[in-house]
Symmetry: C2
Subunit: 325 residues, 2 copies
């Protein structure tokens, strides 16, 4: 039996799981608070402690664990595990050799993986993309991330940046996205971007139920609140979601045209907006994609829910151990 | 010694080469006219005859050839070699089983490959992209094509369409490209698109030397003519090429962001426009790409010239024979 441990480091919690590579199942899982305010060294020590506790919880010696994968919402050096940027965690993470520190704590190989790439690898291996020759993952949320898995292996590209779909241009005359790129997908199709459309309408004095639901406070406008208004029949809210779905569709169309994947797995918070986003998204895809037969592409929702992160991290550790990555 | 024959089928000529897989060199080359007006069956018979002549010219029995690759400016079924669409060749090519017909003529495996994919595979294997872990090829011409090679192998995607970069959206509010997609890269950065900017200026009565050079005939405005005007100091022509370079840069930036390749090889007729295109293209890339360190990406001109097509087709036949594709 070969076991790997997958960790999903988030801003508020550290999720972990023990993964049995033979049965391809999680045999034990547990989540602890991140306590991110304590800073990088404390967080890394907490991750190491959690790995030990996970092994114990699964009834295994730590030495029986073949490797650890850690999904991080970050950019980093994939060879050394040194962090470049973790936007959402406080403290001085710059150049922190997180992979090496964890490896010393645990005396075993620890491999970092970007969280959106972990999502994709998990869904491609065990989730909605299982069995397809090529799988693209797309996470629609506060940002838009993703990953590319070809023949079961993560295609990383230079500095592991392949799959940073959120920053590619869909409207070259548009406003900048978070990376500074004008008209980047994320500047139009992310959660905050969609909320900003509603905020703009409210600020312009358009009559919409969104205003009242938000207590006449622009700060409280979220995609979920817009959804609430749309479901109550508010035409402006429905229009906002339709536009958001169209923007998402333009970027998704670009992925389909450039990569011609057999499967696209869509996850992230915006996926919960349901048909309000999905229908205009697919309509836009059908209008724009003429290079592949769309009826042969599986465009599917994620299947692993919140466990994709830990599974992807564990599968990454396995692939590294097996020399496949 | 293992030899493969690569064929590059064009609208006016059929180029061919005998490729020695051990030395990785072309040992014999020859080109004949396509005579495309004679129709598919005649063209396919001519290709078969040319393969025989190429073997003979290299001093080899036909039976000593291990496989034939044929680069076609087409979409087709990669499994069966059946043509779906050859836009630039007359006659009824629809559903013509070109690969099977050539295989029967020659009694050996014949593998079709899209011409832009052949360009990319050749440059990645023996040309400007040699030695890089991942290579994207981009051909800038009447259309914009391309291909993706990862770890030396062509990533085909569904129906071999991966790398159809020309049809991805860079300006979602723009006019349609050839595939019908509004604001597709090809609608802004291809040769005809750049010529159309100049034509628009001329039609609006803007004073430019382009008019005189074209003999006051809009039909005669080409990228080469605009280049001629630009080099003679015409500010409008220089502006047109700068805009073209910027449009090309937006699409190139998208490729870099989404795929993070170690190397991009740029070919096609527009590459000959030199610094007028290259400088604004790179300026745009630097403005838009913030997800990878650009100083670590090789963005390089194609190195194999007109021979990329035959080399790519031969390498494709080799990879198919070796079970790598």
């Amino acid at each position: 039996m070969t076991h790997f441990i997958g960790i999903d480091l988030g801003g508020t919690k550290i999720a972990g799981a023990v993964y049995d590579a033979a049965s391809r199942h999680i045999v034990h899982r547990s989540t602890i608070p991140t306590q991110a305010h304590e800073g990088p060294d404390a967080v890394l020590a907490r991750i190491a402690g959690h790995v030990r506790a996970l092994a114990q919880g699964a009834g295994l010696e730590l030495a029986a664990i073949s490797g650890v994968g850690v999904g991080v919402p970050a950019t980093f050096d994939w060879d050394t595990g040194t962090i470049w940027l973790i936007p959402n965690l406080p403290g001085d993470w710059l150049n922190k050799p997180a992979g090496a520190i964890l490896g010393q704590h645990l005396n075993m190989p620890v491999h970092l993986i970007n969280d959106a790439r972990a999502f994709t690898l998990a869904e491609a291996t065990l989730g909605a993309g299982k069995g397809y020759a090529s799988v693209v993952g797309v996470t629609l949320g506060t940002g838009i991330g993703g990953g590319i898995v070809i023949d079961g292996r993560l295609y990383r590209g230079l500095t592991g940046a392949a799959g940073e779909f959120g920053h590619h241009t869909i409207d070259m005359h548009g406003l900048p996205d978070g990376s500074g790129n004008p008209g980047g997908w994320e500047s139009l199709g992310s959660g905050p971007a969609i909320a900003s459309i509603a905020a703009k309408f409210v600020m312009q004095g358009v009559t919409t139920g969104i205003s009242g639901l938000a207590g006449y406070d622009l700060n409280k406008i979220t995609p979920e609140l817009i959804l609430q208004a749309a479901e109550a029949g508010d035409a402006v809210a429905q229009d906002v979601l339709r536009r958001g779905g169209e923007y998402i569709g333009v970027g998704l169309a670009n992925i389909l045209i450039m990569l011609a994947p057999y499967c696209v797995v869509i996850g992230g918070g915006l996926a919960r907006l349901g048909h309000w986003i999905h229908d205009p998204m697919m309509e836009t895809v059908r209008q724009r994609v003429h290079t592949i037969p769309l009826d042969q592409v599986a465009i599917v929702p994620a299947a692993l829910g919140g466990e994709a992160g830990v599974i992807g991290a564990a599968v990454w550790a396995q692939q590294r151990a097996e020399g496949k990555a």
